[in-house]
């Protein structure tokens, strides 16, 4: 079965540094998402992306966050200046438009 691929699986960074989390969605999907899960908390929606623009974003997704689909295959989440509270598991997901989301295995981001 096709799958969503995320790299790296673990990312350690210093507070204030920029990080880019990468995702390769399923090839014929059109809808892309980022979610995150802080340890011990619920999975939270960050942003949805369709037709090369943000469809919707949550309150968490402030000016420090941005998403991009730089080519036909990658979908990235950038955090410009990381904070301690950005430490979480970040999940990329994609959908072909039939309600079911396919999630990647996640990138564990640790901000020190």
């Amino acid at each position: 079965e096709p799958e969503v691929t995320q790299t790296p699986s673990h990312q350690v960074t210093q507070m204030g540094q920029e990080v880019i989390l990468r995702c390769v969605p399923i090839s014929n999907h059109l809808y892309f998402y980022w979610y995150r899960q802080i340890l011990g908390q619920k999975v939270e929606f960050l942003v949805s992306f369709y037709n090369n623009e943000i469809s919707e974003k949550s309150e968490i997704f402030d000016d420090q966050f941005s998403v991009e689909r730089p080519d036909g295959s990658n979908f990235t989440l950038k955090i410009r200046s990381t904070k301690l509270e950005d430490s979480a598991m970040y999940f990329c997901a994609s959908s072909g438009g039939f309600e079911k989301l396919f999630f990647g295995s996640g990138t564990q981001l640790s901000v020190l």
């Binding site: 969503v4 809808y31 998402y33 929606f45 949805s48 997901a93 079911k100 989301l101």
Partner: protein
């Protein structure tokens, strides 16, 4: 709002027994989905039930939805040790740009003992 609250928070059963997990939500929804997460891994979609459906089956999974009570249940029959995982319900309100915007519950940790 506290959308998608599951209970119990943890469930421990023996192999072969049935496992039932419940989910409650507060707002109107387009659909409700159940996902599974193995430790340290991604979320795997299990089953989706739309707001106009009451019950759905998929293999050993049975999900019900009661929109009047704003609740859903997931039943796993004849559980196996491999079913050990966290199970999450997630609601989608739908409409406009909200497609795919899921609100997850806290999850139920299911442990199935061989």
């Amino acid at each position: 709002s506290q959308q998608g609250e599951e209970d119990p928070q943890a469930l421990s059963i023996q192999e072969g027994e049935n496992a039932t997990m419940n989910c409650s939500y507060k707002t109107s929804i387009n659909n409700l989905q159940w996902y599974r997460q193995n430790s340290g891994r991604g979320l795997v979609h299990l089953i989706l039930i739309r707001s106009n459906e009451r019950e759905k089956h998929s293999g050993r999974l049975r999900v019900t939805l009661d929109t009047s009570k704003k609740s859903s249940s997931l039943l796993i029959t004849a559980s196996r040790a491999a079913d050990t995982a966290s199970y999450f319900c997630a609601t989608e309100r739908g409409g406009g740009t909200s497609y795919g915007k899921l609100t997850f519950g806290q999850g139920t940790i299911l442990t199935v003992h061989p």
